[in-house]
């Protein structure tokens, strides 16, 4: 029995200064299982997985690998024991080739690097994850899922027997996620152990053998995945019954708030037309790369584009920059929170007031008025933090998102475009954001939600437009919507199958 334990945490605790982030956590990861670790942001799961991968040392208790207590002082120590962490934001040097990345720090050859050997062995490693890719390709030129596979190949090439995966599907589409889950199952079949950290409970249900739930730095339970539904997992994470994840949909108004015709973003999207009414939540579904983000960035003038006609409340308007858009009451929340949304190094106050500074300039900026606005906004948008004078990077993902949402809503917009509004956000904050979207719509605003999470689109939207390869390919509405309907349109499966079907028959 003891032999079956690949790794274990024994009464592990961790403090950072006076802050206790983990207390008395004990559980075992069996050899060859997929073990999911779930919990809200701040529950301590990332600290725990980093301990196993050698990035943190426990303050109390210890970590065991292969039945032996171990002290892991660096990721190299962990790697030597076959434990590798695959980061959510990949640890790849963008300007190096795939092969150079796979062998970074372990280059074959003495003196001079043996390039041929490196390429050959990289090809072998890539074959393990079933990806056909030239090892000489620059990582910069890879797609997100390809980068992920390269990370896994890199780990396997270093004889990893225990993969720690941090939110591996955070930026993958549905079909890419399926491919990854299949790969994880195959690796398990070959005896690899996986510690799978994710917010996406459906995936956890689909791939994990056992699930460990953390809440507020403590272990809640470890159970077989087959005994838990995603809903029960969410309840265990939050510690209370999460019932009304999605509020009821109010009837939308009849006036069109924003009407867009013939929007073209060269290389990404073409001929995009849509109307969104006051009080309506309009969803945009599609695979990553379907051109949804690019279309809306184009609409706001953040990319090169051409547009036939844009009307706000029935009046034609010209939007050539995000500034024009804001003046016409149209705001956009980027999917890339750290890159395009949040000033992570700056405090909360300037982050909140960035788009509404003219309100506080009389004519010199009034920091006290800004501070009052921050205190009000923190309550209004549910930004939960002990102190308001910290940099934005100190907030959890959910609170960061609420802060950026607060910034664009301070403009008092009439049309709110939200791109992946709940990416990297925990269950509790997700629910808050869904309710906020509902409140916005109920208040007569038009809301556009771009999302890769089906339940989110189905739960929030009155109407869903599906994009594929830069075009709007279908519209779905009504209560009887299912994920299958959306996926069919997004992937174009039925149409192509139908076409080839017709073709063979003639």
């Amino acid at each position: 029995m003891r032999n079956d334990v690949h790794a274990a945490f024994r009464e592990v605790g961790k403090r950072f200064g006076a802050v206790e982030v983990l207390r008395d956590v004990t559980f075992e990861i069996a050899r060859g299982e997929v073990h999911a670790l779930i919990g809200e942001n701040g529950a301590g799961k990332s600290t725990l997985m980093k301990m196993l991968a050698g990035y943190h040392e426990p303050t109390t208790g210890h970590v065991e690998v292969d039945g032996q207590p171990v002290t892991l002082r660096s990721s190299r120590d962990a790697e030597a024991l076959g434990v590798v962490l695959i980061h959510q934001e990949f640890n790849l040097a963008e300007d190096l080739t795939v092969a150079q990345n796979v062998f970074l720090g372990h280059e074959p050859g003495r003196g001079l690097v043996d390039d041929a050997e490196m390429v050959r062995r990289t090809r072998e490693a890539l074959a393990l994850v079933d990806v056909r890719l030239d090892p000489r390709t620059r990582v910069r030129d890879l797609s997100v899922p390809q980068k992920q596979l390269v990370e896994i190949a890199k780990a396997l090439s270093r004889r990893a027997r225990l993969l720690v995966m941090d939110e591996p599907t955070a930026s993958l589409t549905l079909s890419e996620t399926r491919t990854l889950l299949d790969l994880i199952r195959r690796l398990r079949g070959e005896g690899v152990t996986v510690l799978y950290v994710s917010h996406k409970l459906e995936e956890v249900k689909a791939v994990a053998d056992r699930v460990t739930v953390l809440r507020d730095g403590r272990l809640v339970t470890t159970r077989a995945a087959q005994d838990l539904s995603p809903h029960e997992m969410a309840n265990l994470m939050v510690g209370r019954e999460l019932t009304d994840m999605f509020p009821g949909k109010a009837e939308p108004g009849s006036e069109v708030a924003l009407s867009v015709r013939d929007l073209d973003v060269p290389g990404f999207a073409g001929g995009v037309n849509f109307d969104v009414r006051r009080g309506e939540v309009l969803g945009f579904a599609g695979l990553v790369g379907a051109g949804r983000t690019e279309a809306f960035e184009g609409l706001l003038g953040l990319r090169r584009r051409s547009v036939g006609r844009v009307e706000r409340d029935g009046r034609p308007v010209r939007i050539r920059s995000a500034g024009d858009a804001a003046r016409h009451g149209v705001v956009y929340l980027s999917e890339d929170r750290k890159g395009k949304g949040l000033l992570v190094d700056m405090p909360l106050r300037p982050n909140l007031t960035l788009m509404t500074l003219e309100r506080y300039a009389r004519p010199l900026l009034d920091p006290r008025a800004e501070q009052r606005a921050l205190e009000r906004a923190a309550k209004e948008y549910g930004v939960r933090t002990g102190r308001l004078d910290v940099p934005a990077s100190a907030l959890s993902g959910g609170n960061q998102q609420k802060l950026v949402l607060g910034r664009i809503l301070e403009v008092d917009p009439r049309v709110v475009i939200l791109d992946e509004p709940t990416r990297g956000v925990d269950v509790g904050a997700k629910r808050d954001i869904y309710h906020l979207v509902h409140r916005l719509a109920a208040g007569g605003r038009a809301v556009v939600v771009i999302s890769s999470e089906m339940p989110e689109l189905l739960g929030l939207c009155h109407r869903i437009l599906v994009m594929r390869e830069g075009r709007v390919v279908g519209e779905l509405s009504g209560d009887g919507l299912t994920e299958q309907d959306v996926i069919r349109l997004a992937t174009g499966l039925t149409r192509e199958e139908g076409a080839s079907h017709v073709h063979t028959h003639h």
Partner: protein, 334 residues
């Protein structure tokens, strides 16, 4: 800012923030230490005449460095300020000399000269900003290019020698450098005014906030509906005007411009900004720190002049050591 709280984590955080605050006062503490040391070694250092001399000399670099603070916080750099100062000085002298026969050697001619300086500085900044934003060329490259261009044009105009201000004009102009109000030399007064205005603009205006936001993350600023191009161009214009102001004060000092005028000023200005605690990668910074940095650099040179412990020929070496030390103590603060 911290309020009493029952949060158990509050105590160490407060302790840390006190340390951080002391750390952020580093340049000022350094300046006080150097000043005390200099006074101990030679009591003449603390004399009114000497302090006034130090501050006057610090004014040139200091005024330029206030402009550089904006450029660096916005995530840019301007390497051309020394060359621009030389070119501006030469142009101003040539124009004033040319105007003297018709307009006379009085105040009007000098006023025209000053105006020309401001226009030249602003235009140079406009050109930098436009090339950097609309032309999408790295600021380092653009201003490295103009660093060469400006000085070469001045060298051509002076035919390798020096351009000298007409003697009569020089008499009219000299109070701008040598004059004083209530015993305080004019350059110091202008320096103080520029620093106060700079601090106010950086911390209490929308423009200042936008400069910080752009330096912190330009994409975020763009997505937050800020006119990034305009703000960045304006930053280089502010730098150009600061160079013009410093040049206006500098011309009457020697009454001439030569290919060696303003040599290496760009490095001293950047050093003053960095010593003052502004991050070279942009996003965060402060004007008062820059002022302290500029004064500190001149104080070191002055101390070496007044004492015989270290040869004044090693001035640049001592300054270099100070820059590295300051950077060492400030590392990882952000």
């Amino acid at each position: 800012m911290s309020t009493p709280t029952t949060d158990p984590t509050a105590t160490p955080r407060t302790a840390r923030s006190v340390l951080a605050r002391v750390g952020s006062l580093g340049p000022l503490l350094g300046l006080i230490a150097v000043a005390l040391l200099a006074t101990a070694l030679n009591p003449d250092f603390a004399s009114f005449a000497n302090v006034s001399n130090v501050l006057t000399r610090a004014a040139f670099i200091g005024i330029i460095a206030v402009g550089a603070t904006f450029v660096i916080i916005s995530g840019g750099i301007d390497l051309s300020v020394g060359s621009l100062a030389a070119l501006t000085a030469g142009t101003v002298i040539l124009i004033m000399n040319a105007l003297a026969p018709s307009l006379g050697s009085g105040v009007p001619t000098v006023m025209v000269g000053m105006l020309v300086a401001l226009v030249v500085g602003a235009l140079a900044g406009l050109a930098h900003g436009t090339l950097i934003t609309r032309g999408r060329i790295e600021p380092f490259i653009v201003t490295l290019g103009t660093l060469g261009i400006f000085r070469a044009v001045l060298t051509y105009l002076s035919q390798g020698g020096s351009i000298t201000l007409d003697l009569k004009l020089s008499d009219t102009y000299s109070p701008v450098y040598y004059g004083s109000v209530l015993g305080i030399p004019v350059p110091i007064l202008v320096f103080v005014a520029v620093a106060l205005l700079g601090g106010l603009v950086l911390n209490r205006t929308r423009y200042g906030r936008y400069v910080q936001a752009i330096g912190s993350n330009e994409q975020v600023a763009r997505y937050a509906a800020i006119d990034v191009t305009r703000v960045k161009i304006l930053t280089y214009v502010v730098q150009g005007v600061c160079v013009a102001l410093a040049t206006i004060l500098y011309v009457p000092r020697l009454g001439s411009a030569s290919p060696s005028t303003g040599l290496l000023w760009e490095l001293e200005a950047i050093a003053a900004v960095i010593i003052g605690g502004t991050a070279l990668r942009g996003g965060a910074g402060r004007v008062w720190g820059t002022v302290v940095g500029a004064v500190l650099l001149v104080t070191i040179e002055n101390m070496l002049n007044l004492t015989n412990i270290i040869s004044v020929y090693l001035n640049a070496a001592v300054q270099g050591v100070v820059i590295i030390l300051v950077a060492f103590f400030q590392r990882g603060r952000r």
